[in-house]
Assembly symmetry: C2
Homo-oligomer: 498 residues x 2
């Protein structure tokens, strides 16, 4: 059987299966999403791992829970295929971001089907009964519906579909399912180092992130690195009446506004000295991949209610190949409409920095520190005492996020090219190839410990509200994931590596 007919068979199997079994697939997905999975909640994370392992065992995958004491377990799985000489290692994470229920339309761990995206008028609808049709534009709303529980359901359903059609995998399968991604994967490296041999493979497929914003299937060959910090700025030791002290006591909110404005220009250019120093330029293949991407910035701006600006001419796909600095939040005093006329005593901002190849997280944080010192800030690691306060008019306390560098895989490797061909064959239209994903993933661990080429195989819709309220997955994207993984598992045989 040649590759293209294997892929065709796999796709036919996947489509037939999800057409007849769609309602049950959605119910199973909802059952999985109903498990609360806030990163750091040990009991919840353990329950997710146990549930996942049981689902894998049911698909003939040999499963183990690896556990470093006190840390979330890794769910490892393996399915060997006689005669296969290629091994794919799949990565996904089953932990999720926190969620403020009051900000959600439906509760975050009560998976709810909506007829469409909520901003497009989607209304809650019942889960379909067996045999009923399913609108591919309907969406499931729940925390982790897209980030990152969808790939589990897509992969396991792809195995079911192949099984139902009597088709076997043509590659060895390994699975590394992470429970601490949303807290920055502090022990991922330890897990990889401890199980290096068991994880031997030819390529690592990262099943996370969204497809392209124009709904094109997408592969990515790296991801931005990450660092970040929370900065606290100090005013008077207690709130002061803004009348009796306004114009005299320094206001920490104002000091913070000046600090943040001094870090980044309104046009998006970061003003921290040397911020862009050391960025590895894109090579010709990478630049060509970006140039081939569709220009969707205009429609995305319309969707997001953003006006075009002169400074905004560089396209999104080009911009995310650069490092960024983003204000995640600012908190100071009261600004909810109540009139409390006070001078706040502290102000806080939360900032994340996205790194690209060539930038070291520690160096970037040192650049931030140097910038702040140059701007007259006295930096502290703990609450300032009275003596410190009396000496320094501008005091800032920095609390650092966990951080990691960026990764960019060589797009010319044969196994990478084979995968690209498989995905192209599995899709009707063009496939977007993104040298670096805008989001951050701790891919450097896999490079450092396993020496594997890493390729991202995302399936979620881009408008999934990942990390925010009303996270969701478009059903068409779940179907795409099932098709895609069936094609990869049944189609990505050795011949593809020529």
């Amino acid at each position: 059987m040649d590759d293209s007919s294997a892929i065709s068979s796999a796709l036919a199997a996947a489509r037939a299966y999800r057409t007849t079994q769609g309602p049950r697939i959605l119910r199973d997905f909802a059952e999985w999403l109903a498990l609360p999975n806030i990163a750091g909640d040990s009991l919840a994370i353990q329950a997710n791992a146990a549930y996942l392992a049981a689902q894998m065992e049911r698909r003939g995958i040999d499963t183990e829970l690896w556990q470093i004491a006190g840390m979330p377990p890794v769910v490892f799985g393996e399915r060997r295929v006689p005669g296969a000489d290629t091994t794919l290692l799949f990565y996904a994470h089953y932990d999720g971001q926190p969620a403020e229920a009051v900000e959600w339309t439906a509760p975050p761990w009560t998976p709810t089907l909506f007829s469409n995206a909520i901003p497009q008028g989607g209304q809650p609808i019942p889960f379909p009964a067996d045999g009923a049709p399913i609108d591919p534009n309907s969406r499931i709303y729940a925390r982790s519906a897209s980030d990152d529980k969808a790939p589990f359901t897509a992969i396991l359903t792809a195995l079911d579909a192949l099984e139902a059609a009597g088709l076997a995998p043509r590659v060895n399968l390994k699975f590394f399912f992470d429970g601490e991604e949303e807290t920055g994967s502090p022990t991922l490296g330890d897990y990889l180092a401890a199980h290096r041999d068991r994880l031997a493979a030819d390529i690592l497929l990262i099943c996370d992130g969204p497809v392209h914003q124009n709904r094109q299937p997408q592969l990515f060959f790296g991801a931005r690195g990450f660092t970040g910090f929370t900065v606290t700025v100090y005013g008077p030791t207690r709130h002061l009446h803004s009348g009796h002290y306004g114009n005299w006591a320094p206001n920490p909110g104002l000091l913070l506004a000046h600090m943040l404005a001094g870090m980044k220009a309104p046009d998006g250019r970061v003003l921290i000295e040397d911020f862009y120093e050391g960025v590895t330029p894109l090579n010709a293949i990478e630049q060509a991949a970006i140039d081939a991407l569709p220009d969707f910035d205009g429609s995305l701006r319309a969707e997001l209610g953003l006006a075009e600006t002169e400074a905004g001419n560089a396209r999104l796909d080009q911009r995310i190949q650069q490092p960024s600095l983003n204000i995640r939040g600012i908190q100071c005093g009261i600004a909810d409409g109540r009139i409390l006329n006070m001078i706040p005593s502290v102000a806080r901002a939360s900032v994340d920095i996205r790194l690209v190849k060539g930038l070291d997280p520690d160096v970037m944080i040192e650049r931030v520190r140097a910038h702040l010192r140059r701007d007259g800030w006295h930096l502290v690691d703990a609450e300032p005492d009275a003596a410190t306060r009396s000496r320094h008019p501008k005091i800032a306390r920095l609390g650092l996020d966990p951080s990691f560098p960026a990764v960019r895989t060589d797009m010319t490797l044969p196994i990478v090219q084979a995968l690209v061909r498989t995905v192209r064959a599995a899709c009707d239209g063009p496939v977007a190839l993104l040298p670096t994903l805008g989001g951050s993933l701790p891919l450097y661990h896999f490079v450092d410990h396993l020496g594997l080429p890493v390729v991202g195989v995302p399936i979620a819709n881009h408008d999934n509200n990942q990390h925010g309220p009303d996270e969701n997955l478009r059903i068409a994207n779940l179907w795409y994931g099932i098709d895609l993984f069936a094609a990869i598992i049944h189609g990505a045989g050795p011949a593809h590596q020529n």
Copy 2:
């Protein structure tokens, strides 16, 4: 009886009374403070008015509740004294600021006695039993303990003390007790206009605000005016993942930081064009009064944990004679230590502006608008629609606070000078005379409608946490208030007007 002996008798009566009756006075004060009184909570406000009226009736004051439908009632009281030809009108307000219980050491409407100020190690102590001594440095913690329920207790207790000593008031007394001060007194002018004849008097005494920061007794002859706004800045219509969109989508927190930094320099100078234009300069008497005030800035900085700066050389008392612009709060995304890597969709800031004589609130708001327009902002009064968003990269929505102008009373008027002499006689040391209080009071209503000279007679300690958590009154300041009002009521007879 000459004035100085009348004042001496009144002071002796007050001191004797609070020495023997101290524990009961504190219990009565606590009962009054236990009534929740958030401005705008109609039922709570009505309950406070009814309680207050009953307390006044018990002191032989003819009391009426004036009520404009749907608004907080004014508690009006009158006590005529045969033969008196001077009438004092007392103003205080019985409504209070909102309070976030979680931010308080003791619940805001569970008045709690502390052995000292909490930052100085004060611990909760039981209210003293009858006959037990009372430490004047102990403090009652409760919302409105200082702003502004203390004057009611001080005035009514002064009447009790004079009564117990067989001393009668030597002036006619009128009382105008307000229930909407903390919401900007929207109907104060209507109440005054409707009851102009009943409110006829020789002088209005404003019983509100704190004494001087060095604990000196203080009179003030005006107060700053007030305006303010909440500004909302718009980013994408939904939260975005800061990785996939960071560096491309505009961040409303950053836009807001630039807006705020552009309004005020780090040294406190307001950068809004013409902000200081039109300020009526201090005259020689006013400037002399300020020059005579003690220099306490150094000790205040130490108390508040503030470093001295070159830009901060102007003294507090001088600075509050100028207009100010203060950031009351900033809210954008999440900055509480949780790592939610998103680009927020909106950012809000809350700003108050303090006005001095010569500045019109509407003109000041127009200066803010002009400044923002010059800075490229498109100003809206409601949520922007898609068409507006697509046309304007910088959109800000302004919501305005109620506002009013400043007032400054002529310090040379005979009745004002008489009051100054009485207060000086009632105090052991010097009395601070402040041309304009830093805080804002809607005194212009009294000037406009009643044509009265207005003098502020504050009693609260300066470190009372007014408007913030852990509001408190130092017991020594309650004692001072009782003494002071006894002296004014019994001592400020006609002879003082010579």
